[in-house]
């Protein structure tokens, strides 16, 4: 067993916050005796170990310390406590553009960055062909970076760093900017690097699907500390669960404005609404409340009818919601829609289209609607919209919440594209 490629111990980063520059001057003048700053610990006590050929994923909310950790490892920040060891070259794709000079061409920027990284003089020239080919920028490669789109900058940056073949490649959220096919190419390239057994990759991503798919290890940073470390599947699941729970208890600023507050779900448990485990309203939600009816909650059930937070890729599940009517209604129509993270509607349907006729409701009646969901959604994040409209005019909504509830499909990816209509194939030779 060789020594780990990356090792960090007790890694911490403190920022000193001063009210103004003069506060710092006073503190300096008193040789530190008059303390004029407050401490902000962006990262505390992070332990890491990564071997050659492994991929580490980092999840966490904005401000959890992901970027700080990556910047420390890439050497652009200096740790306050602890330390780290990387036996080899580290290149990092942080934020956008990675320090390009806007006036220089793509080619000249590659040269300059190689120099800035302290690489030998002819290093960039040797790899130029490969970089140009991978970045696939056409004539833009010889145009100033100033006119690049953000996607193009990322393509150039990724191509450059991947071609330089560092022992450790650090990739921030940056990849999310590129188009899908380029992202695919990047992941394939990273896979190659990992599979070669010579390199390691560290990725931080909001795209938790990528982390479960690529990484051998994951850590979840929360408030600058490692909340959980280990198996990517478990870490991601725990992280997503926490996200949903905390969004439900979120501060008012994080929640969309609402005309009126629905009653606390726990109080409704007698009406067929689960006491806990409801999906939290997402930040992308567009809510159209009405005085005729209200949505009591949206949740997921697995095949056995248990309330779950995420859906397993190969398992059937149900999307459920409860509507309470505040005024009598005759044969209303219930509808739902699933949208992926890019906003493509995957399916939208309602009781009328499905040939289900609802009954009559008096004020205070509650209906629980369960939509069976066949396996077929790919691994990723989805949004649920749901609502209820008048029987004689489905476009007249009594209540409607668009892209209001988010859930994840976890597991092994079975397909590309928007959803999977195909089951596992049968091979005649294996029959």
């Amino acid at each position: 067993m060789s020594a780990p490629l990356v090792r960090a111990w007790g890694l911490g980063k403190r920022y000193k916050l001063y009210a103004n520059p003069y506060a710092r001057l006073l503190e300096w003048a008193s040789l530190g005796r008059a303390r004029r700053h407050s401490d902000f610990w962006a990262l505390r006590d992070v332990e890491l170990e990564l071997n050659r050929g492994e991929c580490l994923g980092i999840v966490g909310r904005n401000g959890a310390g992901k970027s700080t950790l990556l910047r420390l490892l890439s050497g652009t920040l200096r740790p306050t406590t602890g330390g780290f060891e990387i036996s080899g070259q580290v290149f990092s794709l942080l934020e956008l553009g990675t320090g390009f000079n806007a006036e220089l061409t793509g080619r000249a920027n590659v040269q300059q960055t190689a120099q800035l990284l302290g690489l030998p003089a002819d290093y960039a020239s040797q790899h130029m062909g490969q970089i140009e080919k991978f970045a696939d920028l056409g004539e833009f490669f010889d145009r100033p970076v100033r006119i690049y789109s953000s996607g193009m900058s990322v393509r150039l940056a990724f191509s450059m760093f991947a071609s330089f073949e560092p022992e450790v490649l650090i990739v921030d959220e940056a990849l999310a900017v590129g188009d899908a096919s380029f992202q695919r190419k990047c992941y394939r390239r990273m896979e190659e690097m990992i599979d070669s057994g010579e390199h390691s990759v560290i990725i931080a991503a909001h795209d938790t699907g990528a982390i479960t798919k690529f990484c051998d290890k994951a850590i979840w940073l929360d408030g600058g500390e490692v909340r959980l470390a280990g198996n990517p599947q478990e870490v991601v699941q725990a992280y997503l669960k926490e996200l949903l729970v905390s969004a439900a208890n979120g501060t008012p600023a994080e929640q969309p404005p609402r005309a009126f507050q629905p009653p606390a779900p726990a109080a409704q448990s007698g009406l067929g609404v689960p006491a806990e485990g409801l999906l939290a309203r997402s930040r992308a939600a567009v809510v159209y409340p009405s005085k005729d009816s209200e949505l009591l909650g949206v949740w997921l059930e697995d095949a056995a009818g248990r309330v779950v937070q995420t859906v397993a890729v190969d398992e059937p599940a149900s999307i459920c919601y409860a509507v309470r009517f505040t005024a009598p209604q005759e044969r209303p129509v219930f509808g739902t829609r699933i949208t992926n993270i890019r906003g493509d509607p995957l399916v939208g349907t309602n009781t009328q289209m499905q040939g289900v006729v609802a009954g009559s409701y008096g004020a205070g009646d509650v209906e629980v609607v369960r939509w069976p969901l066949s396996p077929g959604l790919g691994v990723g994040d989805y949004f649920i919209s749901c609502g209820c409209s008048l029987g004689d005019d489905v476009h007249h909504f009594l209540v409607r919440e668009v892209d209001a509830y988010q859930f994840s499909v976890l597991g092994t990816a079975r397909c590309s594209g928007v959803c999977n209509l195909l089951d596992a194939p049968r091979l005649s030779s294996r029959a």
């Binding site: 920022y15 000193k16 520059p21 710092r24 001057l25 910047r71 890439s74 050497g75 652009t76 920040l77 200096r78 306050t80 580290v90 990092s92 942080l94 934020e95 553009g97 990675t98 320090g99 006036e103 300059q112 960055t113 120099q115 800035l116 990284l117 302290g118 003089a121």
Partner: protein
């Protein structure tokens, strides 16, 4: 510090050249501006000081020195020095983009700023030597020593720029103060006027000034074709080394925080 500067020599050199080449990018005559600017400067100063303020120049006429050559021998090193200091002072803030994303040693940016003004200085001095030759100065072997004081002065500019640049990250007023101070400082030194018009005690005091030994050395070599006194050599080298060491210590102490703030 020196080791990392050596390692990044390629970048420092490349950037300095690009800086000079791009300074007048998009202009009709391009690189020629690098010569026209100092020429215009020389003509202006010469006209103003030799016609309007002719009294002051008499001090030198005894030695039959063309004022132009006297002026430039002090003015060019001074301008390059203050350019190095001002650029060095802004180096970290101006290159925040790189410092945030790449693990480059901070001093590299100050060095490339100093390098580009050194190149301009050498260019200007070549121009000056041509003018001097045209004014019947006979080139002497002493001229070959001229790069020594010039480089010593630029090393001083690098040291001061690094020190102020480091502090400027924390107190952004420093860059402004530096610009103002340098403008005033020029007129306190015998650069455009002769040292003889100053009271003798001021002249003695000036021997300790960080900049004067260098400028005096340039003048001794160029104008009087003699070696300057030993104490000028010592002071000329001691200042940049001393300030360089202080700047290095300050940078080491504050390095961790520089990256937090740029």
């Amino acid at each position: 510090m020196t080791i990392s500067l050596y390692r990044y020599r390629g970048f420092i050199w490349h950037r300095a050249i690009t800086e000079i080449r791009n300074r007048y990018a998009g202009t009709g005559i391009g690189v020629l501006w690098n010569i026209l600017h100092p020429l215009a400067l020389i003509v202006t100063y010469s006209l103003v000081f030799s016609t309007i303020m002719s009294a002051r120049i008499d001090a030198m006429q005894g030695k039959k020195l063309p004022y132009v050559v006297y002026l430039c021998s002090g003015l060019f090193p001074w301008l390059a020095l203050s350019e190095s200091i001002i650029a060095g002072c802004n180096a970290f803030v101006a290159n925040a983009n790189y410092l945030r994303k790449l693990p480059v040693p901070e001093q590299v940016f100050v060095a490339s700023a100093a390098m580009s003004s050194t190149l301009t200085l050498l260019l200007n001095f070549t121009l000056l030597l041509c003018i001097a030759a045209a004014l019947n100065f006979t080139p002497t072997w002493y001229w070959l020593l001229l790069p020594l004081p010039l480089i010593a002065l630029q090393a001083l500019g690098f040291g001061v720029g690094l020190l102020l640049g480091t502090l400027n990250v924390f107190f952004r007023d420093i860059a402004q103060w530096t610009t103002v101070t340098l403008q005033i400082a020029m007129w306190t030194l015998p650069i455009v006027y002769a040292i003889k018009i100053l009271p003798p005690w001021v002249a003695r005091l000036l021997a300790w000034h960080p900049v004067m030994p260098g400028i005096e050395t340039v003048r001794a070599l160029l104008l009087y074709s003699r070696l300057p006194p030993a104490h000028d050599w010592v002071a000329m080298i001691a200042w940049p080394v001393g300030i360089g060491v202080i700047a290095d210590l300050v940078l080491r102490a504050l390095r961790a925080e520089i990256r937090d703030l740029v």
